[in-house]
């Protein structure tokens, strides 16, 4: 997937009167949803009094385990569900208002697309639903097919596609109207690491074009990498809300990254730390993430096709940084498993 900006100068822009000067794009007020069975009996309270605001130009993450109410929130925002109590405002309009959809792009959890259509037909169809003219549709479809990297498969029915390819078509249809607000439900499921990286880059580039993005995920690394702010839900309740950088900062741990240290030097540093009353948790060479390893393999293979990578130790030598982690008295490290 290429990640060049897809901003369109002549794309239909939103009616400025619809959101007069406010930069709150989505606002939920005391939003609750109780699922009921056919007889109206209460089955489960999926969402309890949610109050969040998503502001213009940010990437907002909804985080939580399965069944925590993430998807319910997105469906309420889209008007696919009606709130039991409370309200959702999108661009200052009620969520059940159809016209708000003109400025929204939505990538569902799984790509619910018509399997009997080809990529071109699919995108053309969704373009028509936005009342785009023929020439406009053709231009958008060409751009998006290139953007999501499906040029070679434009005329194949979606039933022949792999999961990752369907996902790309799903993303393309979400962007067909050059939306101001993009809702992504588990955007990286079904994508390989390369696709995941591309997706993250795309999300960031969309943000850079001034679009607002709401994504929900349980892939914590995705959220950490791209989100500006997150809301963490559990059992339908909002547990935490704030900027990612602040939420993740471990106040009592200091991290030093240095290069070219000898063992003696490391021992000396430990001593200095101990002398200042700190404790040394570890002094070690950092391991790369699997993602980084995978990406470097793929990139190298693209550069020199056919050659096999020499040895694993090479990988380590590419990042010979030593990492020292020191903590204060309590040794709890909140970001364990994140690095």
């Amino acid at each position: 997937m290429a990640t060049e900006p897809i901003g369109l100068a002549d794309a239909p822009t939103a009616d400025p009167a619809a959101s007069p000067g406010s930069d709150v794009v989505i606002e939920t007020r005391n939003l609750s949803k109780i699922y009921r069975d056919f007889w109206g009996r209460r089955k489960v309270a999926a969402l309890k009094s949610l109050d969040i605001e998503v502001r213009k130009g940010e990437i907002f993450g909804l985080l939580g385990p399965n069944g925590s109410g993430k998807s319910t929130t997105i469906k309420l925002i889209l008007g696919l569900l009606f709130p039991t109590s409370g309200r959702v405002l999108v661009f200052d309009q009620d969520a059940t208002e159809t016209r708000k959809n003109e400025r929204i792009g939505y990538l569902p959890e799984e790509s619910y697309l018509y399997k009997f259509l080809t990529t071109d037909e699919t995108l053309d169809f969704y373009g028509r639903l936005f009342d785009l003219s023929g020439a406009e549709r053709k231009r958008r479809v060409d751009e998006l097919v290139k953007l999501v990297g499906l040029e070679g498969a434009r005329h194949r029915q979606l039933r022949e596609y792999s999961k990752g390819m369907t996902r790309r078509v799903g993303l393309a249809q979400a962007l067909i109207n050059d939306p101001d607000l993009i809702l992504l439900d588990e955007p990286t499921t079904g994508l390989d690491p390369l696709g995941t990286r591309d997706m993250k880059d795309l999300i960031l580039s969309l943000r850079d074009q001034g679009k607002t993005i709401l994504l929900c995920s349980h892939q914590l690394s995705d959220v950490q990498d791209v989100c500006d702010r997150v809301a963490i839900l559990h059992q339908g309740e909002l547990k935490e809300l704030g900027r990612v950088s602040e939420l993740l900062k471990v106040q009592d741990v200091t991290e030093v990254h240095a290069r070219g240290l000898s063992d003696a030097a490391k021992a000396e540093i430990s001593e200095v730390i101990l002398r200042h009353g700190g404790t040394v948790d570890s002094i070690d060479n950092p391991t790369a993430t699997m993602e980084e390893l995978f990406l470097s393999i793929v990139r190298e293979s693209e550069r020199r096709p056919g050659a096999r990578r020499v040895s694993v130790s090479d990988t380590a030598s590419e990042s010979p940084t030593a990492v020292a982690t020191a903590t204060g008295d309590d040794a709890a490290s909140r970001d364990e498993g994140q690095s």
């Binding site: 109206g40 696919l80 569900l81 009997f116 259509l117 037909e121 169809f125 249809q173």
Partner: protein, 642 residues
């Protein structure tokens, strides 16, 4: 084919019924739409009041009405409807529904084996076979494609990507309907073309000359071979043009005749005979019906002829519309055959309008066709048939009357007579040659045709549609097309109902619901019948509950229900509720059998009236509108993701 009073109504008459507005289709339509909307609003309010409380519930209902008028109807875009229609169309096609057309054609190939080749009217057999087969097949198909699509979309959540676009519920409902109508049309057209060829080819056959005699003056008489279970005899008249071919004509057997052409060699001797293809079997007669009154045996005018028994069939209530439902019209509205007694002053007097030389251009006279019935009280000469007479009379000057033209009644068949342009008759005391258009027809084009039975103690049966003038003949192909148009309208109706039900029911349930509607529409007349007897107090074994009780107790239908008095009241009360509700439902559903009856016109060789098609089209449009509104509200108020 016996036409009923309502069949003679013009479009305007049907729509408005100036004399009895309660029977008007317009009123029925308006009442239906208003009732549906009111009922819908009340139910919607009750449901949302339970969900959100009385105040909020009212607000929710009001908002969805406001949305329809203010944003959804004006915001409906033809491009989106087209996109959704195309999607529905593609979906159906890629599910290979066109296979059904192939099956139909294969079915036709084998159908020839099962259609009785000995039938006296093969054209009727063939036409009614193809039309009925197509009709049921298309309705079944419409039922399947229309009811399963939307629920499937909701179930596999493809609908999520649709409703999160600026798509209105109006567009989803309309798009589906249009898409499926397009699919149905795509299937109906090849089926119609295949049917046309099946009928025309199926009736095609050949004969050979087996006997030929010259009877003098260059005339020939002969017989054709016995093929396809019949033979013909023919005559060849000498040709006016000495160089031209000698042409002859066979008699009419099984509704058709052949042209026989005599080919002479260079030496002037007859070389061979060429038998033409059958013609006259596939017709589309355009009839002009008159109004009918009778005279009794003493010559006094009456509205009805003699009832010879088993003629007063009940039925035809459906045409009464709201009037019947509210109990104003209780009598059956059916025309029956009335009989006139032979050898008395009894007669049937038909008055035809619009008899003008411009309309009836045939030099040999006005073609008049009769499908009369006979009733014998003595055996008589059974081979020669009954004798009748036709007398023409000027309605304004009854003293101008033609001499009777006699004819032999052909039972179970349509016989053709010609009313000659010049005819002997009496003008008061004077006997002279009368001109049809100058003496017998009035200035405004009216003509009386009086039909009597000549044989004593025998009776001749007639009804309004039994005798008609035939100014023109329409083409069979066009008539078949009109039959197919009628099938198309029925299909549109079923699709509309199917899509409507699929907006709030799951696929199989929506199918059953639509099927139930079609079935109730088909059995409407029987339900009206039961109601009719109930109203008259002539309980024929009672309603459903009473019948069940009688079954279990093994009681006869003719005895009084032998249960406790209170129990009896309860049973009859429950029955009344069931019958009246069924009656109301049946009245509000489209009367499909009446639409199906256009096939009967085509099969009997009559041109389908434009007014009849127009009535069906307007009724279909009305029901589509209703289904659209109901479908819209259900889809709009539905939680798609629930």
């Amino acid at each position: 084919m016996t036409l009923q009073p309502e069949d003679f109504w013009s479009f305007g008459e049907w729509l408005l019924r100036p004399e009895s507005f309660l029977e008007s289709a317009l009123l029925q339509g308006i009442v239906l739409v208003v009732l549906a909307v009111l009922l819908g609003l009340i139910i919607a309010y009750l449901v949302s009041a339970v969900r959100h409380g009385p105040g909020e519930g009212f607000y929710a209902v009001a908002r969805s009405v406001r949305d329809l008028v203010r944003s959804d109807l004006p915001g409906t875009s033809s491009r989106r409807i087209f996109a959704l229609a195309k999607l529905a169309y593609q979906e159906a096609l890629r599910r290979r529904v066109l296979v059904v057309v192939g099956l139909f054609v294969v079915g036709l190939l084998f159908a020839g084996w099962y259609l009785d080749p000995r039938s006296s009217d093969p054209a009727r057999l063939y036409i009614s076979f193809v039309l009925t087969a197509t009709n049921y097949l298309i309705l079944l198909l419409a039922l399947f494609i229309s009811t399963f699509s939307l629920p499937a979309d909701i179930k596999n959540r493809t609908i999520y990507t649709i409703v999160t676009k600026p798509v209105r519920a109006t567009e989803i409902v309309l798009g589906r309907m249009l898409g499926f109508v397009a699919v149905g049309t795509l299937m109906l057209v090849p089926m119609g073309i295949a049917s046309y060829f099946f009928v025309t080819r199926g009736l095609r056959h050949d004969h050979e000359v087996v006997e030929i005699d010259e009877v003098g003056d260059g005339r020939f008489e002969g017989k054709l071979s016995f093929d396809q279970f019949h033979d013909h005899s023919f005559t060849i008249e000498p040709s006016a043009d000495p160089d031209g071919p000698e042409l002859g004509l066979t008699d009419t057997v099984r509704g058709h005749r052949h042209v026989v052409r005599q080919i002479r060699g260079d030496d002037g001797n007859v070389e061979r005979y060429v038998i033409g293809e059958p013609y006259g079997a596939l017709r589309a007669r355009v009839p002009v019906y008159g109004s009918l009154v009778f005279t009794d045996r003493a010559g006094n005018l009456t509205d009805e002829g003699i009832d010879v028994g088993n003629e007063k069939a009940r039925g035809g209530y459906g045409a009464a519309g709201i009037a019947r439902l509210v109990g104003v019209t209780r009598e059956a509205q059916r025309l029956d055959y009335g009989y006139v007694e032979g050898g008395t002053l009894g007669s049937a007097i038909y008055t035809f309008n619009g008899v003008t030389p411009r309309r009836f251009t045939d030099e040999e006279g006005i073609p008049m066709e009769m499908a009369l019935r006979a009733f014998r009280t003595i055996k008589g000469d059974i081979v020669s048939g009954l004798n009748g007479s036709i007398t023409l009379r000027n309605p304004d000057k009854p003293q101008i009357e033609s001499n009777p033209l006699t004819f032999v009644v052909q039972e179970y068949d349509v016989s053709e007579e010609r009313l000659p342009r010049e005819i002997e008759g009496t003008d008061g005391e004077v006997t002279r040659k009368l001109s049809l258009f100058d003496d017998l027809v009035t200035d405004d084009g009216r003509l009386e045709v009086i039909i009597r039975c000549i044989d004593r103690q025998q009776y001749l049966g007639m009804t309004t549609s039994a005798v008609y003038l035939r100014p023109a003949e329409s083409s069979f192909a066009w008539n078949l097309t009109k039959s197919y148009l009628s099938i198309w309208l029925q299909m549109v109706m079923v699709i509309a109902f199917g899509v409507m039900f699929s907006t709030f029911l799951s696929g199989p349930v929506a199918m059953v619901a639509t099927f139930a509607c079609v079935l109730l529409g088909f059995t409407a007349e029987q339900i009206y019948d039961i109601r009719y007897y109930m109203d008259r107090g002539e309980s024929m074994g009672g309603g459903p509950v009473e019948s069940l009780v009688r079954l279990l107790r093994q009681d006869s239908m003719t005895t009084e229900l032998d249960v406790d008095q209170v129990a009896g009241k309860v049973i009859q009360g429950v029955d009344a509720v069931i019958i009246y509700s069924l009656d109301a439902v049946a009245t509000s559903l489209p009367n499909l059998p009446r639409m199906l009856s256009t096939a009967e016109y085509a099969a009997s060789g009559f041109d389908i009236f434009g007014a009849l098609l127009a009535r069906h089209a307007v009724a279909t449009f009305g029901y589509v509108l209703l289904a659209f509104l109901i479908g819209y509200f259900f889809l709009k108020t539905r939680e798609i993701a629930a």
